[in-house]
């Protein structure tokens, strides 16, 4: 049996026969087929099972509104579930599987749900799975998830590439049917930059599916001519397989192009490209979607939209049945019979809902067998083509809160022109204008309007002659009087009964109805069902449809893969990485790296034989404190501050005074937020009267720069001071330890004296190193040792670290990473990010004497407020475990000896901890109420999360060299 439903005609390429499999069985189709058309050509009727009742389902539509034929496509890691067979192009060797069935599509055990339907009505989850509550997570939810479902992912990493892009145009035309083509033609001929996007792989829209005439030629001839002309224009970009899925503020549109899904051999090209399109104007020419009629058993395989039946015959050369009954409530649906008869199909009955006889029931489980009428007649048929009217595809007009309006004459919602911004025009069927003539006319008009609005002259485009049959419809939604179920939303198994039950139970608003019954919440987002459901709700409420209202849609128009949103930002490229100038060198030394914001910093440098990071860190600390160590501190923010007002500017942004800092000196600076809390700390070095270099912490470099620009531009716009970041310009190394000077003296050029006398603690200067290499030197210490920070232009950073290490060999110099840096600063009692955490004040940090009384600064006034200066306020002190071997945990809270562990007794917390190889014990910094008065007392550090309770002694935060003598030698 091969393609027995295939007839002549259509736009498939019969020279390219394509093999594919469906549920393991081999089938053939042609290039230009979708999975749906190829399956229909082979007489396959049963293609899926419904979500809840596991009812047998067939292909329903011919477009992206398909609710039934959801397939799992591909193999291995490339498995893609929930793909609509109606839009998936076939390719050689394609593997297609049905979903939500066990053990097979033909025999599905859970079809028992259909028999249990009376118990599975609207809201049954909420009513049934209530008790006991603990069963929900363990039993009910897993059970429901297994039973009611869609396809499954492969569970493997996605092997494909995805990409993003940005496009700019004068006009974005959405949809390449008659209206869209016409709009693009007018705009393109006027020289505007046009993007024409269509979700289909072939442009032409509904004209691909109807045998009509334009200018006394086949309509397809016109389509091909227009596409050829548009393709020849350099100002027009044609994008097929591209869905515009969302409309955002200020003329921004989201679109996704499927590049490789239709290819048998997946190239290295990205599978999908996500586009952000910036368009001055847009034309929505997205067409319309046909809807069904609620009729008993109207979900059986073989019950299809009439327009789909025509599309399969005309576009794909495929018959959906050999004996087709047409049921229609409108003039357009009635055309189906003519098309089918012309194709040689038997059409035993055409039921016009405007007549007295109604369809009453449909027979056949896995395929339609017959239809019964209200007059009692039963007519054999293998396909029922239902035409319930057309819903304009207005979804994109709602994304910016446009609320559609109801038009009685076409019984459909159309865009509310007043609610759509001036950025968007709507033309053709999307606007409720259904004839080809109207589409062409409105497309041309929209094009001309935009051409004029953008200040160009519209070339006259002759409007082609085309069909202008009026669309006539008698609203007819539901066949009443049959107690069997009639489907409204086939994908989510919502029937007319569910809607009526919901109304009875009080869910009368459309929004509540939607959420209670799940009407319109499936992957088709209500394209197949919303308006029908609304009409039935309105009927139940005895209201008109406009009185009942409608839900509005949000992006995306059709589902977009998450990978497309990720684009190239995956795995290690999830975000950019910053590397310091010594990165490659550190890597060669076997450094272990840590992420600090975007920076990759050397955390520690293990040596052979070291099996635990603590061994390495302890060694680095001891070596630095006993001789000399080197640490890359390039990541600290550095800001060049120049101008006559630079000193005064620093005075105002730092809590302490800077204006009188001598040239050639550095000073520690504490920056407050305006609310009086500490924001950041660092240093500023003065190179001339009008030139400072500020450092910030690594973490706050960006926010401090932003804050300084705010102060400069918004608060004091006339201060003559200029800022520019120089973080990246200078590679900077801390050289710390008793031998730091001796090491540096080997590097620093002889004319620069760095002796203690000539270059004391907190000095800074421009020098040269290694025979004339430009450098800056700062005598700063974070470790508490004699230390310098040496910076060179970043180009020399790699070379300098090698020179420093080589020069330090005689002192057994060590490179140290962020861990040893952290240990040494805790030993020294320096506050860092754990202490300056946005919740602490200068007073708590023990730096209230820093806040100058002689000047105003950001945060000064509010740092003086009562609440921040309480007598029993907490302050930063040090802690040592009473038993030397005890381990401290940062985050532990302080509770008095013998007190209960509760919030009332909470006296503060440990902010930083480290093992101090110098003290051979854990040490900690933390905030304790009246901490300074309690030096020597004992208290408990309690960590209820990690279950530790350690007795600690309160001590000075300066564990090492409290008088600071080492710094000054």
């Amino acid at each position: 049996m091969s393609q027995t439903y295939r007839i002549n005609g259509g736009q498939i390429d019969r020279s390219q026969l394509i093999d594919f499999t469906f549920d393991g069985k081999r089938y053939q189709g042609y290039a230009g087929d979708t999975v749906a058309s190829a399956l229909l050509a082979n007489g396959v009727k049963l293609v899926g099972r419904s979500f809840k009742y596991h009812r047998p389902r067939g292909i329903f539509s011919a477009g992206s509104d398909e609710p039934n034929a959801l397939m799992t496509i591909g193999e291995g890691a490339r498995i893609t579930p929930n793909t609509r067979a109606t839009v998936a192009e076939i390719y050689e060797g394609m593997t297609v599987r049905s979903q939500n069935r066990f053990p097979s599509l033909n025999f599905d055990i859970l079809a028992v749900n259909d028999v249990l339907a009376p118990f599975l009505s609207a809201g049954f989850y909420y009513k049934t799975f209530m008790w006991p509550a603990v069963f929900w997570e363990k039993l009910y939810e897993p059970m429901i998830r297994r039973a009611a479902g869609l396809g499954a992912l492969s569970g493997e990493p996605d092997p494909d590439q995805y990409d993003k892009g940005f496009l700019h145009c004068d006009v974005l035309v959405i949809g390449a049917g008659p209206a869209g083509l016409m709009a693009a033609l007018v705009a393109g001929r006027a020289g505007l930059h046009v993007i024409l996007a269509d979700e289909d792989f072939q442009m032409g829209g509904r004209l691909l599916c109807e045998h009509e005439q334009i200018n006394s030629d086949a309509s397809l001839t016109w389509v091909n001519q227009v596409i050829a002309e548009l393709s020849s224009m350099t100002n027009v970009r044609l994008m097929n397989r591209t869905t515009v899925y969302g409309v955002f503020d200020h003329g921004i549109y989201g679109a996704v192009t499927r590049n490789t899904d239709h290819l048998a051999v997946k190239t290295k090209r990205p599978r999908e490209t996500l586009w952000r399109i910036y368009a001055k104007r847009s034309v929505l020419a997205s067409g319309a979607t046909e809807r069904s009629i609620a009729l008993s058993n109207n979900d059986r395989p073989g019950v299809m939209l009439a327009s789909a039946v025509r599309a399969y015959a005309n576009r794909f050369g495929v018959l959906c049945g050999k004996r087709v009954v047409v049921v229609s409530n409108n003039s357009d649906g009635l055309r189906t019979a003519d098309v089918l008869r012309a194709a040689g199909v038997e059409v035993p009955e055409v039921l016009d809902a405007r007549q007295l006889v109604m369809p009453f029931d449909i027979y056949g489980k896995k395929a339609v067998r017959a239809i019964k009428f209200s007059d009692g007649r039963k007519v054999d048929a293998d396909c029922i083509a239902i035409a319930g009217g057309w819903n304009p595809n207005i979804q994109l007009t709602c994304h910016k809160r446009g609320r559609p309006v109801w038009r009685d004459d076409i019984a459909a919602f159309v865009p509310n022109k007043d609610a759509i911004t001036s950025e968007m025009d709507v033309a053709g069927a999307a606007n409720g204008s259904f004839s080809t003539h109207q589409c062409l006319h409105e497309g041309a008009q929209a094009g001309e309007r935009i051409v004029r609005a953008l200040g160009k002259n519209a070339a006259t485009v002759d409007l082609p002659q085309a069909d202008d049959q009026p669309f006539e419809i008698t609203p007819f939604w539901e066949v009443k009087g049959n107690t069997k179920r009639a489907w409204v939303d086939p994908q989510n198994d919502v029937t007319t009964k569910d809607i009526k039950l919901a109304v009875q139970e009080g869910f009368r608003s459309v929004e509540l109805l939607k959420r209670y019954t799940t009407l319109g919440m499936a992957t088709d987002q209500g394209k197949a069902s919303n308006v029908l459901g609304l009409a039935i709700l309105a009927d139940c409420l005895g209201q008109s449809i406009p009185e009942t209202g409608t839900t509005i849609s949000r992006p995306p128009y059709t589902p977009v893969t998450i990978s497309a949103f990720a684009g190239t930002s995956r795995f290690e490229h999830f975000r950019p990485v910053r590397e310091t100038p010594s990165h490659n060198w550190a890597k060669e030394q076997g450094a272990v790296f840590v992420s600090a914001g975007l920076w990759n910093r050397a955390q520690y440098f293990p040596k052979p034989g070291e099996t635990h990071w603590r061994q390495t860190v302890d060694r680095e600390v001891i070596a630095t404190r006993s001789s000399v160590g080197i640490c890359d501190v390039t990541t600290l923010g550095k800001i060049d501050i120049q101008g006559p007002d630079a000193g005064e500017f620093l005075n105002r942004v730092y809590a302490n005074a800077f204006a009188k800092l001598a040239v050639g000196k550095c000073r520690y600076g504490l920056m407050l937020r305006e609310d009086g809390f500490a924001m950041d700390d660092g240093t500023a070095a003065r190179f001339s009267d009008t030139h400072f270099v500020m450092t910030t912490t690594t973490a706050n470099a960006v926010s401090v720069y932003r804050h300084l620009e705010f102060c400069r531009q918004c608060l004091w716009p006339d201060m003559d001071v200029k800022l520019i970041s120089v973080t990246e310009q200078w590679a900077q190394y801390a050289v710390a330890g008793p031998n730091a000077r001796k090491l540096l003296q080997k590097i620093v050029d002889k004319e620069h004296d760095v002796s203690n006398e000539a270059f004391p603690f907190m000095a800074c200067g421009e020098i040269t190193v290694c025979h004339g290499i430009r450098a800056r030197i700062f005598r700063l210490s974070f470790s508490g040792e004699l230390a310098y920070e040496l910076s060179v232009p970043a180009r020399y950073g790699d070379s300098l670290i090698k020179a420093l290490v080589s020069a330090g060999e005689e002192f057994d110099v060590v490179p140290y990473g962020t861990e040893a840096l952290g240990v040494m600063r805790i030993e020294k009692g320096h506050a860092a990010g754990n202490e300056i955490n946005g919740q602490t004040t200068a007073k708590q940090l023990g730096m209230h004497k820093f806040v100058s009384n002689k000047k105003d600064c950001i945060g000064k006034f509010l740092s003086g407020r009562e609440g921040l200066n309480e007598e029993d306020g907490s302050c930063l002190v040090g802690f040592k475990p009473v038993r030397q071997t005890d381990v401290l945990n940062a985050g532990a809270h302080f509770i008095g000896l013998g007190e209960l562990n509760n919030a009332e007794n909470d006296e503060g917390y440990l902010s930083s901890i480290a093992y101090s190889p110098s003290l051979k014990s854990y040490i900690g910094l933390g905030f304790l109420k009246r901490g300074q008065e309690r030096i020597g007392q004992e208290i408990r550090a309690v960590d209820l999360l990690r279950g530790t309770d350690v007795q600690v002694t309160v001590c000075s935060a300066h564990f090492i060299d409290p008088k600071g003598e080492r710094l000054r030698v």
């Binding site: 955002f248 910036y278 620009e709 918004c714 716009p717 006034f861 509010l862 407020r865």
Partner: protein, 95 residues
């Protein structure tokens, strides 16, 4: 969103960071009377406007200009964009 920078033309909003109400320009004079009250108002009191709102944005990924943007919070329409330094000077701020 697109912000039309007064010097650079249209730029995607992702280039900008947001601070808040443009009244933050008017940092109180610490020498003035009732400074506690004025700082409290300045720092903590904000109108939550449904409609036209004047706000501060920073062109972080661009020219590092602070901008005062008048934006309708209901529609996201941007009604005007000015350099904050121009606004600050016009509204009396200097050194």
């Amino acid at each position: 969103m697109i912000i039309i920078h007064p010097l650079l033309g249209p730029r995607d909003a992702q280039e900008f960071t947001y601070l808040g109400d443009a009244s933050l320009i008017h940092r109180p004079d610490p020498e003035a009377d009732n400074v506690a009250g004025t700082f409290y108002e300045y720092l903590y009191q904000r109108d939550n406007i449904a409609g036209e709102h004047r706000e501060l944005w920073f062109h972080e990924q661009g020219d590092r200009s602070w901008l005062v943007i008048k934006r309708n919070t209901l529609t996201h329409d941007i009604l005007s964009v000015e350099l904050a330094s121009d606004v600050a000077r016009r509204e009396g701020r200097s050194k």
